[in-house]
């Protein structure tokens, strides 16, 4: 089950600050709901875990994150993550490319993720996987912005210490709702999760779709 997710969002912070954050997997990992970085293996390799619960299915991936490419000049990073569920329910891998651009005020981050899920979760189909990814992304973005603004702030849905799985019922329901009702509700779901933030998320497609507030 290969899913490609392209996202573009803006943050009210200078490019250097955003880049410094984005190029540190420990910091980024802390913003991913349900995820934690448990160990740094070498300069570019980390061990980590992520729990994803969709409906009745809990998947507890453990694996490695590796920085494949880090271009300080272009502010571009490529990360490869691979994990297997600890109880053998499947595996997932993700190749993510992130790039920070300077804007007149603030920065714009573009990310392209190629997610490959094998196992029970993948049976949910690309529609659900995409929607779950969207919901997770909104939570991530929320955390990301908070952390950028005040690095010591507590992170909402996750913490590096306990790494709770992302909200089971919430994610499943909003993902399913979004899948069934497509646009409007999908945006509602995003709005629910992103409402605490000042700048609206800017999904890549459609470009003009800036979500509710």
């Amino acid at each position: 089950m290969a899913v490609k997710i392209e996202k573009t969002f803006r943050v009210d912070q200078p490019t250097d600050k955003v880049w410094a954050f984005l190029s540190d997997p420990r910091k980024v990992g802390a913003c991913v709901p349900g995820a934690e970085i448990t160990e740094q293996v070498d300069e570019r390799t980390y061990k980590g875990a992520i729990k994803v619960k969709v409906g009745p299915s809990v998947t507890d991936y453990k694996g490695e994150v590796q920085i494949v490419r880090l271009d300080q000049a272009l502010h571009e990073i490529e990360i490869l993550g691979k994990g297997q569920d600890v109880r053998g329910k499947g595996s997932a891998s993700m190749k993510m490319t992130g790039k920070v651009h300077a804007l007149d005020s603030g920065s714009e981050v573009t990310s392209i993720s190629e997610l490959n899920v094998v196992g029970i979760l993948a049976q949910m189909g690309s529609r659900v996987i995409s929607e779950v990814s969207n919901v997770m992304f909104e939570q991530f973005l929320n955390n990301f912005r908070k952390q950028l603004q005040s690095p010591d702030a507590a992170i909402g849905e996750t913490s590096t210490a306990t790494a709770k799985p992302i909200s089971a019922v919430g994610v499943a329901f909003s993902a399913l709702k979004a899948t069934f009702t497509r646009h409007s509700s999908s945006e509602e779901a995003k709005a629910d999760l992103a409402k605490s933030d000042s700048a609206p998320p800017v999904p890549d497609k459609p470009k003009d779709d800036s979500g509710g507030k």
Partner: protein
């Protein structure tokens, strides 16, 4: 055939179904309704991977769940030599995985607990370590040199299961060389699933004191399953009792033996407790017998006037990880060689190659007599492509090539002898009913306005009722079937058959056959099936075989009883047997109709006033070996309108003219046709068990595998012609499968016809609005 009174309700009466009173009151008794004292529950741990090495299984955490009694793994079964079991197609299949897994949702471990919840919770905690292996999803790549080897257990180190061919290759190739016109179509009959209302399951109860194993089983073929359990498990066959209670639909899905059954039996033997195992919906869709997955190419050689000269068919059959197809031993591709259909092909050659892939095992016949749906779909599609190539009306092309009624029995170039048929008559009735000429005019006008409307024809021929013992067997057991009739002293009867109804209405139709033959009112005839301790041996219900085999056996057993009844009547009336005449329900003396004895009086005498020299009682058994198969046929016409903006297809009209020979119960036949057409509609437009490139099932829930409801289902118009089978005791042929076999081609032909002026020659099923919308977009019809 003399029609009986409504009181007797023999053949031809639309008697209400006797079984329905319990079904509509919710009083059916299905496997999951069986609850025994001390019963425990099984739950399956399944593989998330399509292809992976099994490195370890850790059950420590699972065993700690309160209520867990046992966890069985493949290694445990291997110790008892039960890790593998034979399939119905001379292959073997893993019961629980050892070494590696070969498809997603494959059975890996079986957890037994005191209740279902504990079993399911513990199954979640079984930790299995896998090492992923390269996955083979595309059957077209199965025979590539670099394809991963799936079945390491086989001596042949490749993914090829079988090559099968029939027909005269040289003569067919020669006909193609000399042909003026050659048409070709590549048509996929996609992987689909019968998805019966009731999923599969069982309750296995081994009584340690009596050493008797009783298994309530969702089985279409209980006797065959008993024999398989005896052979595989080494349990003496008299100590095994299989009971198929009410079955909530089978459609071929309940013919194979599944790992869950074996695990439940092993658990019951081990624990000495009754063990229930019932699949979830997703388990049913993902792991049990799928249907179709035939990747077919048909070529027709014809002259310029459209007279066909030869048919050449090449097919790749995807059987998944194990060849668990349920079909007669000598027919690895089932009865696919019926692919010349209703047409008089002088030559034909057909070849099929079966391959393994990392998908669920099977290849069962979904409401079809072993690959007949694939064959009918292919030839009906190919005829339309030829008509399009020749710019001929598809109706004219069909009529020109039909086997004429005068040529029956007709011997096809692929070796079948069609019993009877009148294809022109069925076609004419269908055309008249739908108003074909007016529709053609309407279509021409709509095209001018840019509107999309299509008419699709399918004039299929089926082959059902397997089958004659000289050709047909399953695991060596000949495909006869049986009936036993016992008349009670008060003139009521009980009958038992080797078949098993899953909703077909056998309790009514078999009773009507007895009523027809003996004049005992059908309401007084009790029909029982599915208990191997009481019913005579039989091969079960699938392939539209119940009426051709057990139905025939019922008539033959009734006729044996009638002969004895005649002797008793002659004794009672003090005349010779030759002086007696029969009318439904009684024998009377020729020329003196008032001197008569009813069948009820005769039955009473059989127990109370037995003629000297005659045995007491009135009963008979018949094992019927049909001399040939039967060949139902029909013409279906679909009319569709396509929304240019959305690609949505609306089936505006659908006329189904069927000919299944003499009819036992017209209402039940009508019901069968409605059900089969609805399934055919779903197959054409909605259903596919797809896999992604990693072997993840993409049709494993009802969210992705769609079931038509009353909202989507079109209105069906039915009609009939009657061409009795000349060799069947009462001229019947079988109807259950015709609508599923014949309809997909009518739907697809209609959609392709609606788009043919845009250069569209073929669209593979399922034809979703998304597929059509993309075509419209590509053709510049929609924005």
């Amino acid at each position: 055939m003399q029609k009986t009174s409504a009181e007797i309700s023999g053949m031809g009466h639309s008697m209400k179904r006797k079984e329905d009173s319990r079904f509509i009151q919710g009083k059916g008794n299905y496997v999951d309704d069986v609850n025994l004292p001390g019963m425990v529950y099984g739950h399956m741990v399944r593989s998330p991977y399509a292809h992976a090495r099994l490195k370890s299984i850790n059950t420590d955490a699972a065993k700690k769940v309160p209520g867990v009694l046992a966890i069985i793994t493949g290694e445990d079964l291997a110790k008892a030599n039960l890790a593998w079991m034979p399939t119905l197609s001379n292959d073997k299949q893993m019961v629980l995985a050892t070494g590696k897994v070969l498809f997603q949702a494959q059975e890996v471990a079986f957890v037994v607990a005191e209740d279902r919840y504990a079993a399911a919770d513990a199954a979640e905690l079984v930790e299995v370590e896998y090492e992923e292996l390269p996955v083979l999803v595309d059957p077209h790549k199965a025979m590539d040199a670099d394809a991963p080897l799936l079945r390491e257990d086989r001596t042949e180190k490749n993914n090829h299961i079988f090559h099968w061919e029939v027909g005269d290759k040289a003569a067919t190739d020669k006909a193609f060389k000399e042909a003026a016109v050659v048409s070709k179509v590549n048509a996929l009959s996609p992987r689909c699933h019968p998805a019966p209302l009731e999923t599969c399951g069982c309750v296995a109860d081994f009584n340690k004191a009596t050493e008797k194993l009783t298994v309530w089983l969702t089985s279409q073929a209980p006797h065959v399953h008993r024999t398989v359990f005896a052979l595989v498990g080494g349990i003496p066959e008299q100590n095994i009792r299989i009971i198929s209670p009410d079955i909530g639909g089978g459609f071929g899905n309940k013919v194979p033996v599944y790992p869950g059954y074996v695990c439940a039996v092993v658990a019951s033997l081990t624990l000495g407790l009754p063990v229930k195992w019932i699949e979830t919906r997703s388990e049913n869709l993902q792991s049990t017998g799928f249907a179709r997955d035939y990747h077919m190419t048909a070529e027709i050689a014809a002259d310029k006037e459209g007279k066909v000269k030869a048919l050449r068919v090449k097919t790749l059959a995807d059987h998944g990880a194990f060849n668990a197809a349920a079909q007669p031993t000598k027919f690895p591709a089932g009865l696919f060689s019926i692919c010349t259909g209703s047409y008089e092909f002088p030559q034909s050659f057909c070849e099929v190659d079966g391959v393994y892939t990392n998908k669920a095992p099977g290849g069962i016949a979904y409401r079809c007599s072993f690959r007949v749906t694939e064959a009918a779909y292919l030839i009906e599609r190919a005829m339309d492509v030829l008509a399009d190539d020749l710019k001929m009306d598809p109706v004219e092309l069909r009529k020109k090539n039909f086997v004429p009624a005068a040529k029956f029995p007709y011997k096809s170039p692929l070796g079948w002898t069609y019993d009877s048929g009148d294809y022109h008559a069925a076609m004419k009735l269908a055309l008249d009913t739908i108003g074909y000429d007016a529709l053609l005019k309407e279509q021409a006008e709509k095209r001018k306005k840019g509107e999309l409307m299509g008419i699709g024809i399918s004039s299929f021929t089926e082959i059902v009722g397997a089958g004659p013992a000289h050709t047909f067997d399953i695991l060596g057991i000949k495909m006869f079937d049986s009936a036993e009739i016992r008349i009670h002293p008060t003139g009521k009867a009980i009958c038992r058959m080797g078949t098993k109804s899953q909703g077909q209405g056998h309790e009514t139709t078999y009773a009507q056959i007895v009523a027809q033959e003996l004049g005992i009112p059908a309401k007084d005839v009790q029909v029982e099936e599915g208990d191997t301790d009481t019913a005579p041996y039989g091969l079960g219900t699938y392939a539209s075989r119940s009426t051709p085999t057990s139905g025939a056996a019922t008539a033959m057993a009734a006729r044996k009883i009638k002969e004895k009844a005649r002797k008793i009547a002659a004794f009672l009336l003090e005349v010779s047997e030759q002086d007696l005449e029969w009318e439904p329900g009684k024998f009377f003396v020729k020329g003196a109709p008032s001197k008569a004895k009813t069948i009820q009086e005769i039955a009473f005498a059989a127990y109370t006033n037995i003629p000297p020299g005659l045995e007491a009682g009135l009963e008979a058994v018949d094992y019927y070996d049909p001399p040939n198969l039967t060949f139902p046929f029909g013409t279906y016409i679909a009319v569709v309108d396509i929304d240019k903006g959305t690609g949505e297809i609306k089936v505006r009209r659908f006329v189904a003219v069927d000919d299944c020979g003499n009819i036992i119960n017209p209402m039940i036949v009508e019901g069968q046709i409605h059900g089969g057409l609805t399934e055919g509609f779903a197959i054409a437009f909605m259903q596919e068990i797809g896999y992604d490139e990693s072997g993840n099932v993409q049709g494993g829930t009802f969210m992705d595998y769609l079931i038509p409801t009353a909202v989507e289902t079109p209105h069906w118009e039915t009609g009939k012609t009657t061409t009795p089978s000349p060799h069947h005791p009462f001229g019947a042929k079988g109807i259950g499968e015709s609508p599923n076999v014949g309809s997909p081609a009518a739907f697809v032909n209609a959609v392709v016809d609606a788009l043919s002026h845009l250069g569209v020659k073929h669209i593979d099923m399922p034809i979703t609005p998304w597929k059509v919308w993309n075509i419209l977009k590509e053709k510049g019809i929609t924005g």
